[in-house]
């Protein structure tokens, strides 16, 4: 729906920005998931839970940014 469904050609600076930002957000979310999977401390689990939610929010925002750039650069001059 967002992000990866709207591939931007990698030959533009905007595409590189979008790709880097998307990778950063997705990789952060995955890292938090990996930490949560091996954590046994309930207090740490609560903090990781909030971090995971914030990371998921970032994934949504970057997906939208990627889509926005795609639409912006698709407009006729």
């Amino acid at each position: 729906m967002t992000g990866q469904d709207h591939a931007v050609p990698l030959d533009s600076p905007a595409a590189l920005v979008a790709t880097a930002a998307e990778a950063a957000s997705v990789e952060t979310a995955a890292a938090i998931d990996r930490a949560a999977a091996i954590n046994d401390d309930p207090e740490v689990a609560e903090v990781l839970d909030e971090a995971a939610l914030t990371a998921e929010q970032a994934v949504g925002r970057v997906g939208w940014l990627r889509s926005f750039l795609r639409r912006l650069f698709a407009r006729p001059a």
Partner: protein, 139 residues
């Protein structure tokens, strides 16, 4: 009127976005990403600030016709202090940015304190011009 109950956990924003595909009017297809972001932000807030615990749920009510979409996001706790941050404020920006995006992208939105608290937003078909996320106070 489609209704969805989503577990109030970190997967909730993605789960909420996934519900849009089946309900968004075709006339709004070019705004799907804007709608998805606004829904994601409102659901994130509902999980973060409006849920009792991770066993709680966030409830979505979606109403749509040919070129109009109305979404309500209901949370268990009251929806208090629901306002975007001041875009001119300096310092840490840990809260209020989501509602800044909601205000910039949705055609209308509001909140009912409850409980249960509700935040709603509307989108209408407007053609294919990308909208720039500038808060109304800066326009």
């Amino acid at each position: 009127m489609p209704r969805h109950s989503i577990p109030a956990n970190p997967r909730a924003p993605a789960a909420a976005r996934a519900t849009l595909v089946d309900v968004i009017p075709s006339a709004l297809a070019d705004r799907l990403d804007d709608v998805a972001l606004v829904l994601s932000e409102v659901v994130t807030n509902a999980v973060k600030h409006g849920s009792r615990d991770r066993q709680d749920e966030v409830r979505l009510v979606v109403e749509a016709d040919g070129d109009w979409l109305h979404v309500e996001v209901e949370q268990s706790l009251p929806a208090l202090h629901v306002a975007p941050r001041d875009p001119h404020r300096t310092g840490p920006r840990e809260t209020g940015t989501g509602l800044l995006l909601v205000e910039a992208l949705a055609d209308a939105w509001g909140a009912e304190p409850g409980p249960p608290g509700r935040v709603w937003f509307d989108f209408e078909a407007q053609g294919d011009i990308p909208r720039t996320p500038v808060p109304s106070s800066e326009q």
